[in-house]
């Protein structure tokens, strides 16, 4: 059932995102033309054309990024909690699958947007000179990583990048689930559901900041930070990185679990569609 939910979710979102991506790539080609010839030309009209093409490119990129974010919120609210929710929430599908389907498809579009934007910049910059510079920069990055993990510690480099990669995904997922959780709580109120969702969102952030502050003070006052820094100092660089990354991963994982629980609890037990 999750696959079917995702199939229809991709249909619903793809019809918006895919044309936008195409637009980004086309305007990137236009912007490439603009920077290489039109803007340099002696002709005012051509200069103007160049500026328009470049602006179109910037707007297209902004539109794709904003749309990926807006769809994440809009699909959850409109599809599950407004009129369409009458159809969706009466499907023989658990709320868990609904949340997973929305989350996975949103993550997918974020990732796709990232790659498309990267590809667009590549198109924008592309000429022979740039290709050389790009490979040069890439080699530099590899060199830097080699220095960070010396003497056949390549495996650490791979693991660390993997950890970083997973961390990014978990962080974005937590962000999505936080928005979902705010909407799931917001819809359970009898009136002013949207306003309540927004308030709940800021409320959640406020609570997290308070907790973070309190945690920071405790760590500071108890001298825990001292011993942690001391402990980390005794470790080699790669192990330090792994330790810190593991801590971050665990933290975002817990955040994800909390938001996920709030979501499914409210959608299952406090559903209040009007």
């Amino acid at each position: 059932m999750l696959r079917k939910l995702m199939k229809h979710e991709l249909r619903a979102t793809g019809r918006v995102m895919l044309p936008l991506f195409l637009l980004v790539l086309i305007t990137a080609a236009g912007a490439n033309l603009a920077t290489r010839t039109l803007l340099e030309a002696d002709n005012k009209l051509m200069n103007l054309m160049g500026i328009i093409l470049l602006t179109a490119f910037i707007i297209a990129i902004a539109a794709a990024c904003i749309m990926a974010f807006a769809l994440m919120i809009q699909r959850f609210y409109k599809n599950l909690l407004q009129d369409e929710g009458y159809v969706m929430m009466t499907l023989p599908v658990s709320v868990h699958k609904h949340v997973w389907s929305k989350l996975l498809v949103s993550l997918l579009w974020y990732a796709a947007s990232f790659f498309v934007v990267a590809l667009a910049f590549f198109i924008l910059m592309f000429d022979i000179e740039f290709a050389k510079e790009f490979t040069g920069a890439f080699k530099g990055l590899l060199q830097y990583l080699k220095e960070l993990f010396p003497d056949g510690n390549h495996i650490h480099a791979i693991i660390a990048s993997l950890e970083f990669f997973v961390f990014i995904i978990l962080a974005i997922a937590a962000n999505c689930l936080e928005f979902y959780a705010a909407m799931s709580i917001g819809q359970s109120f009898a009136n002013r559901k949207i306003l309540m969702s927004v308030l709940v969102y800021f409320g959640i952030n406020f609570i997290m900041q308070i907790l973070g502050g309190v945690f920071g003070i405790i760590v500071d006052k108890s001298g825990l930070s001292f011993s942690v820094t001391n402990y980390l100092d005794t470790l080699s660089v790669p192990v330090t990185i792994h330790t810190v990354m593991t801590g971050l991963l665990l933290f975002t994982l817990v955040l994800n679990l909390i938001f996920y629980f709030i979501n499914t609890y409210f959608l299952k037990n406090k559903l209040n569609l009007e």
Binding site: K4, R11, N79, G85, Y86, T90, P92, L273
Partner: protein, 231 residues
Amino acid sequence: MEILTCNKLSKNFGRCTALDGVDLSLAGGKIVGLLGPNGSGKTTLIKLANGLLTPNSGSICICGETPDVNSHKLVSYLPERTSIPLWMTAQQLMDFYEDFYEDFHRDAAERMLEHLGISPKQRIKQMSKGTREKVQLIMVMSRKARLYLLDEPIGGVDPATRDYILSTIIGNYEPEATVLISTHLISDVEKILDEVVFIDKGRIVLQSTVDAIREERGMSVDALFREVFRC
């Protein structure tokens, strides 16, 4: 076997009581009218049966199950307003129902759409309000469900469309299933009902068969309704 049972079911929105201790039991093989004035609790009852609302107290069961994934498989629900995704084409909508409901009969849906001259390639968004309601009803009635919950299926459409909708309901429901139709347009649905349930201010005030009302009181359900709910 009881298809739908409510036990002391209550629901309030803030200070406003929508349902007040409803006891109700509907057997299979019946077309039942849930009749009451606006705001009497009809829609609330149907939403509770679909798990779209959660009761404040009491319980509601469909074939012995509280509204959940399992009961959704047994219930075919027509909401009070069009809620099929507007961006879909009729074709995509049928894909959608076929994917999620094992009891969806695509051939029946296609036949009914064709009968109405609706092209599968047409987007729901491009259809008129009445056509959208017909399309959603076709999806709902193309399932072979145990319980059909139809919330105001003939509200806000012209008399010809009303006749079409009612004959679609009679022509397609499963004989063992229960059909619950909520409406305040009683004279239009009266002929197709076995039983009626009168609801007023969140309470059930009468449950009877249509024949019994006509035989014993010598009046139509419509006339009885006007008498019971005289302002």
